[in-house]
C-alpha cells in the first residue's frame, strides 16, 4: 500500500530559504508518515513550503484549496450522474453505462491516492472548513483509504502522500485533529533570514538597497494599531515594485519617504495609519 520511505531528505528549493529546524521537521514528518500542520502569520511561506518540497523531491504537487462550503466527499471523488444519464439516453460514447466506475472522478485527495508516484498533497487553509470536515478528512488521511459508496469499493492509497496542511486560524483546531498531525509554527523571519530570502529572490539586488529596504520594512512592522502587518510576501512584492520604478533610488528610502505603501498595507485603515506614522517618523 505505502511505498518504502524515500531516503532522499528535503533540503530546500531554489526559491525557498529553509531554516534547519523546519527541514528537520519536514523530514521527520515524512519518515513518520504524518501530516504536517503549519501555522504562522499570513505571508510567512506556509504554502510555499509545500511547493518547495514538491520541487526539491521531484514529486507532483496536488493542492486542495479548502472552501467553507466544501464537503469532504468533494475532495475525495465525484460521481458524474449527468454524463451517465446522457450516455444512457444517447449511447454514443465509448463508456460503458452499466459500469458506474467509469463515471467516478477523483477529487484532490483521491488523485493523490491513485497517483502512480508519491505526491505532495497540500491542504491549504484548513481552518476555513468546519470542524466536522477537518476531523473526517483526518480519518481518511489516517486510514489512507476511503469508500466510494456508488460502486461499493474501497480506494486505498498506492503511495502515502506527503501531506502538508496550513492554517491561519488564531484558535486551535480540534484535539483529535491535532493528535494526528505534527505541528510547527513558522515564526516571522528575523533580519538575517530575511536578507537571505531577499538574496534568493533578487540575486542582483545591491546590499545597500537591501539593507535600506529591510530597515524600513521592520520599522513599518512596528507601527501601532496595524491589523495586518506586512509579511515576507508583501516585502518581496514591495521590492519588486521599487525596482520597477525607474525614478527610485536608495536615497529616497533613507530620507524617510516610503513609496508604494499600498503594496505593504492591504487594509485601508492600516494604510492610512501607516501613512500618518511614516510621515511622523521623517
Amino acid at each position: 500500500m505505502t511505498s518504502e520511505i524515500k531516503p532522499l531528505p528535503f533540503r530546500g528549493a531554489a526559491k525557498y530559504v529553509l531554516d534547519e529546524e523546519l527541514a528537520r521537521i519536514v523530514n521527520i514528518s515524512m519518515a513518520l508518515e504524518m501530516p504536517l500542520l503549519l501555522k504562522g502569520e499570513p505571508g510567512t511561506g506556509k504554502t510555499m513550503l509545500a511547493h518547495a518540497i514538491a520541487e526539491s523531491l521531484k514529486m507532483p504537487l496536488i493542492v486542495l484549496n479548502v472552501k467553507s462550503s466544501m464537503k469532504l466527499v468533494d475532495a475525495l471523488y465525484q460521481y458524474d450522474t449527468l454524463t451517465r444519464l446522457n450516455d444512457s439516453r444517447f449511447g454514443d460514447s465509448k463508456r460503458d453505462v452499466s459500469n458506474i466506475e467509469e463515471y467516478i472522478r477523483m477529487g484532490r485527495i483521491g488523485q493523490a491516492f491513485v497517483s502512480e508516484v508519491r505526491t505532495v498533497l497540500l491542504i491549504d487553509e484548513i481552518d476555513k472548513a468546519d470542524t466536522d470536515f477537518q476531523d473526517d478528512m483526518l480519518d481518511v488521511l489516517d486510514q489512507m483509504q476511503f469508500d466510494i459508496i456508488e460502486i461499493d469499493k474501497t480506494m486505498a492509497a498506492r503511495h502515502r502522500p506527503v501531506i502538508v496542511i496550513t492554517s491561519n486560524a488564531k484558535k486551535d483546531l480540534s484535539d483529535p485533529f491535532l493528535g494526528r498531525c505534527n505541528f510547527h509554527h513558522i515564526a516571522f523571519p528575523d533580519t538575517d533570514m530575511m536578507r537571505r530570502i531577499i538574496g534568493v529572490h533578487f540575486p542582483d539586488l545591491s546590499k545597500d538597497l537591501a539593507d535600506a529596504c529591510l530597515a524600513v520594512f521592520y520599522r513599518l512592522r512596528e507601527f501601532r494599531g496595524i491589523e495586518k502587518k506586512p509579511a515576507t510576501r508583501e516585502l518581496l512584492n514591495w521590492i519588486r515594485a521599487l525596482r520597477a520604478d525607474p525614478d527610485f533610488n536608495a536615497r529616497t528610502l533613507s530620507s524617510g519617504t516610503v513609496p508604494y505603501l499600498g503594496v505593504l498595507f492591504k487594509k485601508s485603515g492600516d494604510l492610512s495609519l501607516a501613512a500618518q506614522q511614516a510621515c511622523r517618523g521623517r
Binding site: R24, L85, D172, D175
Partner: protein
C-alpha cells in the same frame, strides 16, 4: 526513554498525549534523531500542538536536558510583571501614579524608574498575605490607591481584571494571559462565532443542476432527458443592528463595538445599522451623529418580522431615563411614551432579538436598568462566549 521528560511536560501543563509520545519513540527507533538538536525539534513538532506552549516547552527542555533550574514559584516573574505594569502606568499618567503612591507629583518626577520600582516593592513587602478592603495595602476593593478595583479614583491597577484576588495573585496567572477569552475580540474570532447565524435561501439565477430531480423528471419523461436547475443557496439573513454610540458610558467599548460593526458590515448582505443614545425613544438614527436621518420607531412595523434585531449597548442609565415618559436626556426632546414601552414595542415586532452588552456579565446585577432591559431582550455578554450564546438564541426560535 525520556519518560520523565514526558511527565515533566505534562506536569508543566502541556497537553501531551501518550499516543504522540509513542510516536516520538517510533521516530527515535527509526534513527531519525541524531543529536540533541534533532531531538529538540522532533519532540516539539510531535508532542506540542500549539505555539502557545513553545515557551513552556523550551523551559522544560532546558530543565530536563541542560539542567537548568525550573522556576518553581513564579515570584520573580510576577514582580517583573507588576513592575512593568507599574512603569506603563507611570508613563501614561504620572499625576495619577503620584497620587496612587501617596507622593507628590514632583517627588515622583525626581525619582528614577529604579527608585520608583523600589518604593513600590518596599510597599509590597510590608504586606503579608492577601489583603482586601483595607485602606493602606495593595489589594483589591479597598480604598488604598495601589491595587485594582479600589474606590480611589487614581487607583493603580496591577495585573489582570479578575475580581476578589490580590493583584499579585492575578499577575501570577500570567501563563493564561495570552490566550484568555477576555482579550479583545478580533474580527476572526467574531467571524467564528457569527458564522452559524445564517439563513440559506435560494437566490440568483437557476444555475445549479438538481441531480435527483433531473433523474426523476427524466424517467417520468420516458427516458427523454429533462434537466432540472435550481437556484444557488445564499445567505439572505436580514439583520438590524442598533448601536449605542452616545455618551461616555460606551467609550471604553468603542474598539469592541467597532470590530463587531466591521465584521457585520462585511458579512451580512442585508444589514441596517441604527444609532441611539443610552436607550430608544421615539426615533433612532441612520447616521452616527444622530442628527440627519432619523427614523421613527413606528416605522419598524413595516419591516420583515423575520429580521434579527441586535442591540449593542451597555444598557446602563438612570431609572427615569428608561421608565419616565419624558425621560430623554436632551432638553427639548418631548416624548409621549417611556423608553421601556418603545423597547417592548420593538421586541413585539421582531421575534428574534438579542441585546449584546460589552460589560462583563458579573457587573450586570449592579445596574438597575440592565435588569429591566433583560426582561425584554435576552442579554448576552459581548465576548466570544456571549456571542456564541446569542447566535444560538437567535437561531433557536426559528
Amino acid at each position: 526513554m525520556f519518560v520523565e521528560f514526558f511527565y515533566t511536560l505534562r506536569k508543566r501543563g502541556i497537553p501531551v498525549s501518550p499516543t504522540s509520545f509513542l510516536r516520538l519513540q517510533k521516530a527515535l527507533s527509526l534513527g531519525l534523531v541524531a543529536g540533541i538538536d534533532d531531538f529538540y525539534t522532533a519532540a516539539r513538532c510531535i508532542l506540542v500542538k500549539s505555539e502557545r506552549y513553545f515557551d513552556l516547552y523550551d523551559q522544560t527542555f532546558a530543565h530536563c536536558f541542560r539542567g537548568a533550574a525550573l522556576a518553581e514559584d513564579f515570584s520573580e516573574v510576577e514582580l517583573a510583571d507588576a513592575v512593568r505594569s507599574l512603569l506603563e502606568e507611570w508613563l501614561k499618567s504620572p499625576e495619577e501614579l503620584a497620587a496612587a503612591l501617596g507622593l507628590s507629583k514632583e517627588a515622583v518626577g525626581q525619582m528614577t524608574p529604579e527608585e520608583l520600582v523600589r518604593y513600590f516593592l518596599d510597599r509590597l513587602k510590608d504586606q503579608d498575605g492577601a489583603h482586601h478592603g483595607g485602606s493602606r495595602w495593595i489589594g483589591t476593593k479597598g480604598t488604598s490607591p495601589v491595587g485594582h478595583s479600589g474606590h480611589h479614583p487614581g487607583g493603580m491597577r496591577v495585573g489582570g481584571a479578575s475580581r476578589g484576588k490580590s493583584a499579585i495573585k492575578v499577575a501570577m496567572e500570567r501563563r493564561y494571559r495570552d490566550y484568555t477569552q477576555q482579550g479583545p475580540l478580533t474580527e476572526v474570532q467574531m467571524g467564528e462565532a457569527l458564522k452559524r447565524l445564517r439563513r440559506m435561501v435560494p437566490s440568483g439565477p437557476k444555475d445549479v443542476v438538481n441531480v435527483d430531480k433531473t433523474v426523476y423528471e427524466t424517467i417520468r419523461n420516458g427516458g427523454e432527458i429533462e434537466i432540472v436547475f435550481d437556484r444557488h443557496l445564499a445567505d439572505r439573513l436580514k439583520v438590524i443592528l442598533m448601536i449605542d454610540n452616545g455618551g461616555w458610558s460606551m467609550d471604553p467599548y468603542i474598539d469592541l463595538v467597532q470590530t463587531l460593526f466591521n465584521y457585520a458590515r462585511s458579512q451580512f448582505k442585508d444589514l441596517t445599522i441604527y444609532y441611539f443614545h443610552n436607550t430608544v425613544y421615539s426615533r433612532v438614527w441612520l447616521d452616527p451623529t444622530r442628527h440627519h436621518k432619523p427614523e421613527l420607531i413606528e416605522e419598524f412595523v413595516r419591516k420583515d418580522p423575520e429580521t434579527r434585531l441586535v442591540f449593542v449597548g451597555d444598557a446602563s442609565m438612570a431609572p427615569y431615563e428608561l421608565m419616565h415618559a419624558d425621560g430623554a436626556l436632551y432638553v427639548g426632546q418631548r416624548e409621549m411614551q417611556a423608553s421601556i414601552d418603545r423597547l417592548m414595542f420593538l421586541a413585539g415586532i421582531f421575534r428574534h432579538s438579542a441585546w449584546l452588552n460589552p460589560q462583563p456579565e458579573s457587573d450586570w446585577t449592579g445596574t438597575w436598568s440592565i435588569g429591566r432591559i433583560r426582561e425584554i431582550f435576552p442579554m448576552f455578554e459581548l465576548s466570544l462566549d456571549g456571542l456564541e450564546k446569542a447566535v444560538q438564541h437567535l437561531r433557536s426560535r426559528n
